[in-house]
Amino acid sequence: MSELDRLIHEPARLRILTILAGVEATDFNFLLNTLGLTKGNLSSHIDRLEKAGYVKVEKSFNGRVPHTEFQITPQGREALENYWKQLDEIRNLNPPTDDKQR
């Protein structure tokens, strides 16, 4: 049984990738507002995901206002799906015990 992807296993990064899996693109403010992390913390997580190739960052301008969009990459999507499969495998190895047996 292969090891869980530690990069994805971290709770904040897992949520970032899961949110990105549900949309085509989003920006820093949406992730910040939804997750409630600090800017520094969120930047750090996204940076790690981008370096791993799981998140694509696109920078542009809306008029004069800089705009940064994040998208999950096909590699990131595949890694996320594999992560959930591995987690299911682990759970199936150790099913929850019945309350009566405790």
Binding site: P11, A12, L14, R15, T18, I19, A21, G22, V23, E24, A25, T26, D27, F28, N29, F30, L31, L32, N33, T34, L35, G36, L37, T38, N41, N62, H67, E69, L80, W84, L87, D88, R91, P96
Partner: protein
């Protein structure tokens, strides 16, 4: 995946609520719709003027109002495609949703433009309504039956647009209510305004049902965002606690 044994939030729920939120941010529809209704009001008023001119035998006024009808048609086209409209919609949307951040709902919506035949259909629907205005002007159609006549084109076109743009559940309320209203009128249910308020028979359904659908979508987006935040933040307590400790340590230094 068993939710009870899952130490973190169910990912399918997170994805689901993210999508629901993204598809329910309807304020930009409201802006577009207000502009469309504004132009339709102008067309309706000019059509009414045309009818009065025709009945009075005033050829100058009649041809002038027909000319204004044509100008209103081209004004509608300009509103639909101009950068000014796009900028206005963007500014209002940012005013409402800017603090929440940007989110683009679906690959299906963004990667594929509307098919050409759908755009042609929208144009034909407009011509259909211009035709209705002319029929009313020449008294071939009564104003009180304008709404059912309009529903004949508007309901299928709305359904096609909603399908191709992959909008949320709220969007379907609009053609459903509009079609239901038309059916009730044709069945003789007394829900129409008498003269001289005939124009309200089209104005209230065409604006009211769209407004109701959009408003419900917006309210649902508030609920979806609240739900998304509550699900997503579960299990991040340790993360917040670590951040707080780091900040306290920095303050001490």
């Amino acid at each position: 995946m068993q939710k009870k044994n899952n130490p973190i939030a169910d990912p399918h729920e997170i994805i689901q609520w993210t999508r629901r939120y993204a598809r329910s941010r309807t304020i930009y529809f409201l802006v577009q719709w207000c502009l469309i209704v504004f132009v339709i009001c102008i067309i309706g008023l000019v059509a009414s003027l045309t009818q009065q001119a025709y009945m009075a035998g005033n050829k100058v006024l009649f041809y002038t109002s027909v000319m204004f009808l044509v100008i209103a048609f081209f004004f509608f086209i300009w509103i639909s495609i101009s950068q000014w409209t796009a900028e206005l919609v963007w500014q209002v949307t940012q005013w409402f949703y800017g603090k929440e951040g940007f989110v683009s709902p679906d690959e299906k919506k963004r990667s594929k433009a509307l098919p050409r035949w759908v755009i042609v259909l929208i144009g034909l629907m407009l011509v259909y309504h211009i035709l209705a205005a002319l029929l009313i002007s020449f008294r071939y159609l009564s104003l009180q039956y304008l709404q059912p006549f309009s529903a004949g084109a508007l309901v299928p076109v709305l359904c096609i647009l909603i399908y191709y743009q992959n909008l949320g559940f709220w969007a379907w309320l609009w053609p459903i209510l509009y079609g239901l209203h038309a059916l009730l009128l044709l069945c003789g249910v007394p829900i129409s305004f008498p003269a001289p308020w005939y124009l309200l028979n089209i104005m209230i359904p065409i604006f009211g049902y769209g407004f109701i659908a959009i408003l419900i979508g917006h309210i649902y987006s508030r609920y979806a965002l609240w739900k998304l935040k509550s699900i997503t933040r579960q299990g991040l307590e340790e993360e917040y606690s670590n951040e707080k400790q780091n900040e306290e340590q920095k303050d001490e230094k």
